[in-house]
Amino acid sequence: MSANIRPSGVFDTSYAQEMRINRTRFDQVLSAGFLGVILALPLLARTGPFGIDIVQPGFLGTVERIAIFMIAVQGLNLLVGYTGQITLGQAAFMAVGAYSTAILLRGGVPFVLAPPIAALFSGFVGLIFGLPSLRVKGFYLAMATLAAQFIIPWLLRNPLAPWTNGANPLPVPRADLLGLEISGLTLYYFLIIMCLLAMLAARNIIRTRTGRAFVSIRDNDVAAELLGINVFAYKLRAFFICAVYAGLAGGLLAIEARSISPDRFDLRNSIELLAMLIVGGAGFSQAPIFGVSLLALLRETLIPSLTPSLQEWLPRLLPFIDAVNINAAIAPIIFGVLMIAFLIIEPRGLAYRWEIFKISWKIRPFSY
């Protein structure tokens, strides 16, 4: 979309050059700078090697979870944003990945194998729940995928309880990679690297054959057939990839949290993942960065920091609010307002705004 707008003086001399992800100097510097800050964060925390106390250790946990949820939202983006399908079961597929990873690790499966196996397994479960897309679209497909969201947590709570601890938390053993314990600093970098790899892979899918087939199906499925695209097979491929991403994210969440329980993977969580995608900008590859960061920072950093002052005046204003649990009470309200605001003001999301901003920056001062 923005690929055709460049600062003057930027030319491509080969197709390979034109296909690059970070095409201009601006993009390269920006990406490298952003990544540099993320990688430097743990070094600036009290828990870091230098004992500098700029970054709260709790904030590192927030960044870890942002990295994890970015993976889940990118999977959703491929299915919803790029292929034009819908699922209300993303959290359930995360649960499949999380519990499979936990059970595999508890069973002594090596750490390098557990999350990938769990992700693939989640992918196949996603494939099964994607089958209705052969027949139904839109609202009806949403209802069909809702089945996953009811069945999977129920299975985890009831029939599978001997392995999952039912509704109680299931502890996850500490992971180690070839003798190196994955916790603290190593866990942080491990999660960032996994997130980067997942984003890169998604970006590559988007710019090649499979991604073009996805977009073709989204924009005009009759024309897609005409181009020789097996529409149903590619819809299933999208469901598979989406669930693999969810499964990987779930597995990483299990490793990060060291304990999981079914209530982390309920319908509310599925809808929250969709909200992150919409706020970020469905159909833009950077959507997860924006959507997940915004909502996670709101919930984990901004709202808690406001809590003390809110606790003073809000109950006076809205007497029905429970002052003790004000944090839990206020988050859904803020999320709801934010969602409505985005749907009305910028349904294309933050990533779209960002593209527009970048273009106007790149072509300055000649913006004709």
Binding site: N4, M19, T208, E225, L226, L227
Partner: protein
């Protein structure tokens, strides 16, 4: 001409929509390397015929053969893989994408990269992207679309959109091209350009072409044979010379003019 092998064979096709019979026992052959025009008054069943060949409509009876192979039951995407490609009467492009994206999407059936290869990108997938990009660029040159390569298709004029759609159909490297009114709504110059492209495609690429067109002058100029439909029935078939003097055809068109 009729010495050439049969490329596409439509045999006794009947297609009904509720009470309407859009095609009534229609049969004709298309020979390899020819330009066959499909003409007839509005609502005669021309689009229905092409949709049946492409697999978008399912005739209640009759068979369709491509290169001697029965394709009657194949879904559209498999027919595309066998060399069938088309444009639509009312254009079905990806309007939010660029000309280049539209054409690249049409390279799908010729690409081989695996999902894993695509995720890694470097190596195989990248080489494949570049290879197909070259093919697409050749088509862009061929149809003189260099200046709109990176334009969003939805913002182009009608004539150019028709040209992009032709380019996309060509990017499939078809052996049979079905064109549904490629020149409708164009001005004289655009029509001449389009006619020239169609003749070029036919000559330089050896593609067999089935063309629906209302402009009789044009049809008589570029088609080697003509099939005439009226109310879903085939009323005539022959060279432009024969069709020009055919009484049934004259009646059908006069009947429409009344």
């Amino acid at each position: 001409m009729s010495k050439a092998p049969i490329k596409l064979s439509v045999q006794n096709i009947t297609l009904r929509f509720g009470g309407i019979t859009a095609l009534d026992d229609v049969s004709f052959d298309v020979y390899e390397g020819e330009i066959l025009a499909l003409i007839g008054p509005n609502g005669a069943g021309k689009t229905s015929c092409i949709n049946s060949i492409g697999g978008f409509y399912r005739p209640q009876s009759g068979r369709i053969f491509l290169d001697g192979r029965d394709i009657t039951r194949l879904p559209p995407y498999q027919r595309a893989k066998l060399g069938l490609s088309r444009t639509f009467q009312n254009i079905a492009l990806y309007t939010n994408a660029t000309t280049l994206d539209n054409l690249m999407a049409a390279r799908h059936i010729h690409m081989r990269s695996s999902l894993i290869g695509e995720m890694i990108f470097w190596g195989m997938a990248q080489r494949e992207e570049i290879k197909h990009r070259r093919v697409v660029e050749e088509i862009i040159d061929f149809l003189e679309m260099e200046s709109i390569r990176k334009s969003i298709v939805g913002k182009l004029g009608y004539g150019l959109r028709k040209r992009v759609e032709l380019g996309r159909a060509l990017a499939l490297e078809p052996t049979v091209l079905l064109l549904d009114e490629p020149m409708a709504g164009m001005n004289v110059e655009e029509k001449e350009d389009m006619a020239r492209f169609i003749l070029d495609i036919h000559e330089r690429r050896g593609v067999t072409i089935v063309l629906i067109e209302h402009d009789m002058g044009l049809v008589m100029d570029i088609a080697q044979r003509i099939v005439v439909l009226d109310f879903g029935r085939k009323i005539a078939e022959g060279t432009p010379q024969e069709i020009r003097t055919n009484q049934a055809v004259i009646n059908a068109y006069l009947g429409q003019a009344e």
